[in-house]
């Protein structure tokens, strides 16, 4: 088992990993950039070590800085969290080459699933329906237009090398495609160091549903149910929930069972998430896999009672899963709200500031994962996520009621957040009915949500 872990990430996920270390008796060393010297994770850690300047490319994204920190601090494993180096096969390989455990899929697995177009082909071969798309990455603009004619509009231009909505554009006409290609290329190059793109048919009114799978080194695997992440703004998730209201129980079970069968056959290891689009008729199409812990993992924890980070650490250590599908029980309904330091009234411009006062909600079924504390100054260099509010109840209506009460109770003074926007979304009739599609927020417009909430 791992005895001393380097946490190579920041924000709420660094704190989350640290908490798993505490319950498992693992010493936690936090690697931080100069901008995160005063971060909660650095303060809670058994040891904190500065690995570079604020610029992530020279700290959290620098394999040599992170691995050197693990060596210097006497760690035997590195947890990369999400984002940054978490799905970098070269990094995972270097970690192993230095005799350290990489907490995630082994390098060869990351390599196999790195390219999204190739992954889609691989899982299609294992029987998962995939969305019509280009055959592999696009060689040039001319091929892009040829493929687009074949696939049909509207379609999405997507980067092969990463996610997060960067380098992604919705195109409804050839003219839009022509304009989007150079922009997507340069965005993808900036964000992932890889400007290869592919095309994917766009389903107009789709739901985003993803399946959590866990596979140990010995091929034992379970699914931990699905999550619905349809409440998005410009391809960024805002609210997630589990189970999905988009599918009946039989459909959910079918989706999860087919996902876990396919991923085991494709040779996956550790925790992973298969993302699907679900159309009006409940048909699902595989789009991509995330080879890491997800931001929204607490939903799965709320329903199953499992600790996802602990499972990651145990599998990475080489332990067998230790339970089967029949041992996994799902109870109730959970909703997660992503609290971001963003000004919803100003086109969600990222905000910085010092937290003057913080009140965290409580009560049955309420969880708040965050790195905020009074006096903490949110630095401008990184992602705007500052907390995740999770509300669980025996049924969906109860979970919505608890989520509303929790958002109302949450107070963060000194920092502009999207709190009122989250509250407005919870009141929207489409959300209450469980009918939100991924295009709803962009179609209606965020300002309309806010205005409706003010009138309400």
């Amino acid at each position: 088992m791992i005895s001393r872990l380097l946490i190579a990430n920041r924000g709420e996920i660094a704190v989350r990993i640290l908490r798993a270390c505490r319950t498992m008796g693992i010493e936690a060393v936090v690697a931080y950039s100069e901008a995160d010297r005063e971060s909660l994770a650095a303060q809670l850690a058994d040891e904190a070590i500065c690995i570079g300047p604020a610029d992530a490319r020279r700290s959290y994204l620098s394999p040599s800085a992170v691995i050197s920190a693990a060596v210097v601090a006497g760690c035997d494993a590195i947890h990369p969290g999400y984002g940054f180096l978490s799905e970098d096969a070269g990094f995972a390989e270097a970690v192993a080459a230095h005799g350290l455990v990489f907490v995630g899929p082994p390098a060869e697995v990351l390599e196999r699933f790195h390219n999204k177009a190739a992954t889609r082909r691989l899982l299609a071969a294992q029987g998962l329906p995939t969305i019509p798309g280009s055959d592999g990455v696009l060689a040039d603009d001319a091929q892009a237009h040829d493929e687009a004619e074949r696939i049909g509009y509207p379609l999405l231009v997507k980067p092969a090398g990463g996610g997060g909505g960067k380098g992604m554009r919705l195109c409804r006409t050839p003219r839009e495609l022509e304009a989007a290609l150079p922009v997507c290329r340069s965005e993808a190059r900036a964000a992932f160091g890889d400007d290869s793109l592919y095309l994917e048919r766009w389903l107009e009114d789709n739901r985003h549903v993803e399946v959590q799978v866990v596979v140990d080194r010995f091929g034992s695997a379970v699914h931990l149910g699905e999550r619905d992440c349809s409440v998005q703004r410009r391809h960024q998730k805002i609210i997630e929930e589990a189970p999905t209201p988009a599918l009946p129980d039989a459909g959910r079970r079918d989706l999860c069972e087919r996902a876990v069968r396919a991923i085991v056959a494709a040779g996956y290891e550790n925790v992973g998430t298969l993302e699907f689009l679900v159309d009006d008729d409940g048909r699902f199409y595989f789009i991509e896999i995330n080879n890491r812990i997800q931001v929204e993992h607490p939903l799965t924890e709320a329903l199953t009672g499992l600790d996802m980070v602990e499972i990651q650490l145990r599998i990475a250590s080489g332990e067998p899963l230790g339970f089967g599908q029949d041992d996994v029980r799902f109870a109730g309904h959970a909703i997660e709200l992503r609290l971001a330091a963003e000004d919803a009234a100003d086109d969600f411009r990222p905000a910085t500031g010092q937290v003057e006062h913080l009140h965290v909600p409580g009560g049955p079924g309420v969880r708040f994962d965050s790195h905020l504390y009074p006096g903490y100054e949110v630095p401008p260099y990184y992602d705007s996520l500052v907390g995740k509010l999770i509300a669980w109840a025996p049924d969906r209506a109860g979970a919505i009621a608890r989520a509303r009460a929790a958002v109302d109770e949450l107070h963060v003074d000194g920092l502009v957040t999207n709190r009122s926007f989250l509250r407005a979304l919870l009141d929207h009739p489409a959300f209450v009915r469980g009918e939100v599609t991924t295009n709803l927020v962009d179609r209606v417009g965020a300002s309309a949500f806010l205005a409706a909430a003010r009138r309400g």
Binding site: D55, A190, Y381
Partner: protein, 237 residues
């Protein structure tokens, strides 16, 4: 899908709608400034006792400002880590509470017109050392990366060093990274033993001012850029 954290550098303080290529170029420029210029500037700010220092390069501006008063002590909870169990000699990772970059605020930003520095530019290089009651800042060479420190053979306390001279290396997974003198001076006390682990920015060795030239050799220089230029690391590769 939203987990990818923004990787933009300090240039992204302002929301940025320039095209990504220009942004990348700007980031490269910032990284270069941060590597080459900032340590020298911080050192210069320390020795001159100035409140603020600004340098322009191309379309970018670097401004450093001393904090108004003595910095409150770092929270004791941070980095309290005992080294027990690590099997390493001593502790690394004491990011010197007094390390220069942490002590002085610095701002890097596009040169978009007169900043506060110019507004109050009546005091360039007319520094009053210690006027605000600060203890005189000491000049140190610090670690360029996290790794194991090795001093350069033949250097000893009392050796005279040039600005930008290599004083030793930090071994980062077998790749040496130079520890450079931020200013010309006399090598003072070593703060890290040979072979000890260091973290990024950790203070490694004190540089005492040259006795003849005085503590602020460049203080009379009227051009900030000119005054700083000699301090740029020579060995930057």
């Amino acid at each position: 899908m939203t987990e990818d954290l923004r990787t933009s550098g300090p240039g992204a303080v302002e929301p940025d709608d320039r095209d990504p290529a220009a942004r990348l170029a700007a980031h490269a420029q910032i990284a270069r400034l941060a590597d080459g210029l900032l340590p020298a500037l911080v050192a210069r700010l320390g020795t001159t006792g100035l409140g603020e220092l600004e340098v322009r390069e191309g379309s970018w501006r670097v401004r450093l400002r001393m904090p108004p008063g003595p910095r409150p002590p770092q929270p004791a909870t941070a980095r309290r880590g005992s080294r027990a169990g690590s099997g390493l000699p001593g502790g690394p990772a004491r990011p010197g509470a007094g390390s220069a970059p942490a002590e002085s605020g610095f701002i890097i930003g596009p040169d978009i017109g007169p900043g506060p520095a110019e507004a109050s530019a009546a005091t360039p290089f007319g520094g009053r050392p210690g006027a605000d009651g600060r203890t005189s800042p000491r000049l140190v060479a610090s670690a360029p990366a996290v790794g194991f420190y090795q001093p350069r053979a033949g250097l000893a306390p009392g050796s005279r060093v040039r600005a930008g001279e290599r004083l030793g290396v930090v071994d980062v997974l077998g790749v040496p990274q130079d520890v450079l003198a931020p200013e010309a001076g006399i090598l003072g006390a070593a703060l890290v033993e040979p072979g000890e682990p260091v973290e990024y920015g950790q203070e490694i060795v004190v540089i005492e001012p040259l006795p003849a030239a005085g503590p602020s050799a460049g203080a009379g220089d009227s051009s900030p850029a000119g005054g700083v230029a000699p301090a740029l690391p020579e060995g930057t590769r």
